[in-house]
Homo-oligomer: 222 residues x 2
Amino acid sequence: MRILVVEDDADLNRQLATALEEAGYVVDSAADGEEGHFLGDTEPYDAVVLDLGLPKLDGLSVLENWRRDGRTMPVLILTARDRWSDKVAGIDAGADDYVAKPFHMEEVLARVRALVRRAAGHASNDLTCGDVRLDLRAGRVTVAGAPIKLTSHEYRLLSYLLHHQGKVISRTELTEHLYDQDFDRDSNTVEVFVGRLRKKIGSDMIETIRGLGYRLGASVDQ
Amino acid sequence: MRILVVEDDADLNRQLATALEEAGYVVDSAADGEEGHFLGDTEPYDAVVLDLGLPKLDGLSVLENWRRDGRTMPVLILTARDRWSDKVAGIDAGADDYVAKPFHMEEVLARVRALVRRAAGHASNDLTCGDVRLDLRAGRVTVAGAPIKLTSHEYRLLSYLLHHQGKVISRTELTEHLYDQDFDRDSNTVEVFVGRLRKKIGSDMIETIRGLGYRLGASVDQ
DNA sequence: TCCCGCGTGTCACGTTCATGTCGCGTTCAG
DNA sequence: CTGAACGCGACATGAACGTGACACGCGGGA
């Protein structure tokens, strides 16, 4: 999962990025409205954390522009506690959720989890497929009840596949969502990680669609 | 289905081609207006993705020429966000849809799907014929509810037949729409793939019209 | 500071599998 | 009956994919 953080306070931006990365997301940061708007328009994010008070282009305008252009990724807005009117305007502009500043990092993490979940059409914090169960909150994975240890990249890969189970995910889509902007796209890294993940969760979970990509679950037979 | 991409930015052109190919289309690329115009005039495309800012011959002129020559294939125009006037001019010139740059690949794919669908006279993203059902979005095929595995060429063949069910499709038409420019037209590849497809979806689905080609569905007889 | 373990990305090599071609048998029209 | 069109099993080939090994960087601990 790849998250965009748009926040002009450098300290807060870094804190958010660190916390999200520790939670297993890939994070891109933007320091002002223009940069944030551009990134959200060109890169495929699974969620956005958007401050409202931004230089160059304020958060509400950024959000409105995105929605007008048909960008539907979930957006979590950071707003000062007393700016009730901002909250109302945010709803109108198409925000999906709010956190009032100052906030507890835990709360932001929980809401981001919920947004990503809902965007993929899941209701619970536990994603399952067959014997595999992933607890988004604790960041733990079990196979048939037994906990297994995943590295951070393996966890991201599994999480993305579980969020989109049943769909065919191409190698390019995986690299776009598992790595940040600049990454060499010509390598077999993805295949290697799919192999490592298969070794840990059982090789029959992830199906290879030759020439297209991979698919988890919904392999009713064959 | 065969798509023409006319876009001078080599990077973007490649990205579009890759994404479309992953979605199961055959893609030809053109880097300037003249090349695009020539290809669109001489090859039978099921849809065109056309940038407006092109060297040698701009996109609007290309489109106008095609329409004047009676080419009716659906055209999706890529336009810069702020060039509202281009959009209006595009409508007048006979474009079928628009996407503002920068765009998300998902959006382009969805619109191309819709264009190809509409051109063939279908409203839904599910194409069915008898027990056979093809989900254009997920790229999945079921026979009597049971999912079956198709290779990419088999999928393209079935997709084309379903889009034109009831009509007799000649071998040359199939090779022209299932392969790109340079392909040896003197072989029995099509027959082989029809055979393979028949084996998977039931041999009574595809009817052979001796001397003319194949027909799917509407087999009321003669 | 040095060493060690670990996660990661790259490479080389082996394997699988989709594809196109060939050859022969079968069907069909005249 | 004859030839052309088509069906089908089989095979070669090359690309896509899987896998083990290794090098590098980084962080922790002695």
